[in-house]
């Protein structure tokens, strides 16, 4: 398998973007990626577009984005892995280069969630499980699914609502420093604890916003990358896993098994361990999801995620800085964009271009953990400078 490097990154402003349509939003992320790589659309062999879709007007979004970026004629695919669609698009572009099918490939993650009203969004994403058995009769919602995980984690390990709130406070602190973030303001513990109940025990500020946004990566083969840049960031390993559609068929709820399997797989392929990672983005669609990730990725022992957030071990200066771009919680979660957005931020970290939120880089290793659904899909991508 050929080595694959990230040679260009681009990111749109995340938020409620009623000022742009779908392909214009894609362009906003792709243009800086082309400029960063010093390439033009004609240099791209293959485009993968990560998007879940359903809440915007286009049925073939990849085709619309591709035409707008001047990439018609190139190899093209749309990737869907729910909230991990972005990582699936990166993995797909990666595989075309690793296998020798292309030299330069682009992955665009994109979502536009504000073209429908919020409750229509709730109706759609509540079906992100098994419609027939969990939505049709029982009206599951997406926060409801993660609430099932939170309830068992709290019971099993004594995790508290205050510890969940600490995750939101941390990620908002960093989101306030990210000019591309949807929610650029710091919040306090009480703001979270006093916010309205969504699905007990998760309150409004335990939940990420529904956002519009796009992010883009340009990937290149080793030979090509070395001709383009002195600071390639290598995609060292991608671990992939999945779990049952029916949440009732899961072994347990205080852990996402797909994260455990995908991360073990990624660490093994990269021949590194969780304690060697300098900086990570984990999938904090809800505050509980970030705590589950600490444990499932091996950043701490089972049951100790609450302690880890209490001690500030995942802030800059702690054991492992996590979500210092604001995470899904404050940066926003345009679901198809998220995995690509994580890797844009981590590439900047490994290039030491992260400004105010630069984490100390000792081993030159970063990790992106992207979950689709409630652990239905998981992609763990390890980057190396």
């Amino acid at each position: 398998m050929k080595r694959v490097a990230i040679v260009g990154v681009g990111h749109s402003k995340f938020g409620v973007r009623r000022d742009v349509n779908l392909p214009e939003l894609g362009f906003e992320a792709a243009k800086p990626a082309f400029e960063d790589a010093n390439l033009t659309p004609k240099d791209i062999d293959f485009l993968s577009v990560g998007t879940a879709g359903g809440w915007y007007e286009e049925f073939l979004p990849a085709v619309v984005v591709s035409e707008y970026l001047g990439l018609s004629g190139k190899g093209l695919v749309r990737c869907e892995a729910a909230c991990a669609s972005g990582s699936a698009a990166v993995a797909t572009a990666f595989h075309t280069i690793a296998s020798g099918q292309s030299d330069v490939a682009m992955a665009v993650g994109i979502e536009k969630m504000s073209e429908v009203d919020t409750l229509t969004g709730v109706e759609l994403i509540g079906r992100a499980g098994y419609y027939t058995w969990e939505f049709h009769n029982f009206g599951m919602t997406f926060p409801g699914y993660y609430a099932l995980h939170a309830t068992q984690h709290m019971k099993k390990y004594g995790t508290t609502e205050k510890q969940l709130a600490e995750v939101a406070v941390k990620n908002h602190k960093y989101g306030a420093m990210n000019p591309n973030a949807h929610l650029q303001r710091a919040i306090q513990i009480d703001d979270v604890l006093s916010s309205r109940m969504v699905a007990w025990p998760l309150k409004l500020y335990d939940c990420c916003p529904m956002s519009d946004g796009a992010a883009a990566l340009i990937l290149a083969s080793e030979e090509k990358a070395k001709s383009l840049t002195d600071s390639p960031v290598w995609i060292e390993a991608i671990g992939m896993s999945s779990d049952t559609a029916n949440v009732s068929k899961r072994v347990e709820y205080a852990s996402l098994l797909a994260t455990v399997i995908a991360s073990k797989n990624a660490f093994k392929k990269a021949n590194v361990g969780p304690d060697q990672i300098d900086v990570a983005d984990v999938h904090d669609c809800f505050t509980i999801a970030e705590l589950l990730a600490y444990e499932d990725l091996g950043f701490c022992k089972k049951g100790e995620a609450g302690k880890m957030i209490d001690e500030g071990q995942t802030e800059i200066g702690g054991k492992i800085p996590v979500n210092v771009d604001g995470g899904l919680k404050a940066k926003g979660h345009p679901i198809g964009a998220t995995g690509v957005s994580m890797m844009v931020g981590l590439t900047r970290q490994l290039r030491k271009q992260a400004g105010k939120v630069q984490a100390p880089i000792k081993n030159g290793l970063a990790l992106a953990h992207n979950v689709g659904g409630t652990g239905h899909y998981c992609y763990v991508t390890i980057l190396r400078s």
Binding site: R18, D19, E57, L119, T120, V122, E123, G126, Y130, T132, W133, E134, F135, N137, F138, G139, M140, T141, P143, G144, A147, L148, H149, A150, T151, Q152, K155, R196, M197, V198, A199, W200, P201, L202, N246, V247, S248, K249, E252, Y253
Partner: protein, 145 residues
């Protein structure tokens, strides 16, 4: 004369989806609810009991199965109270969704009804039974006092 605001958005043509989901192979499950049964499928070859039921066994790839009633007692593994509800559930007040492991071994996700919100607990014992709602036959949990 007031000026019209500039048009900055195009309203799409509306579209409504109502999916017709085939239930033919599992029709006895839905008939069973009417008769007061909650059926899981039991593979006729390897004997695996699956809930929700399946017409095809993913373990031994056999398509023959029989029905077994899984009503009885179980223990709550986790639960939530759904406060912000989808539009298609707006007519229901806040509802409680629980996952319980039945004493027979299968897990079931369903509503836990007839409780005050504080009464739901991980580890609480519940009874699973076929029920009827205004929307038709279904199944759910009640707490065992």
């Amino acid at each position: 004369m007031a000026l019209s605001p500039p048009v900055t958005r195009l309203k799409s043509r509306p579209i409504t989806f109502i999916f017709e989901i085939p239930t033919e192979r599992l029709v006895e499950f839905w008939n069973g609810l009417e008769k007061g049964k909650v059926y899981a499928s039991k593979c006729s070859k390897c004997g695996r009991i699956t809930f929700p039921p399946v017409a095809d066994c993913s373990r031994c790839l056999t398509s023959g199965f029989e029905w077994v009633d899984i009503q009885g007692e179980g223990t709550i593994e986790t639960f939530t109270h759904i406060v912000i509800r989808p539009p298609s559930f707006q007519s229901h007040p806040t509802y409680t969704v629980a996952v319980a492991k039945m004493d027979s071994g299968v897990k079931v996700l369903a509503w836990l009804t007839g409780i005050k919100l504080g009464d739901a607990k991980v580890g609480a014992r519940v009874k699973l039974a076929a029920t009827k709602s205004e929307e038709g036959p279904t199944y759910g949990f009640t707490l065992i006092k």
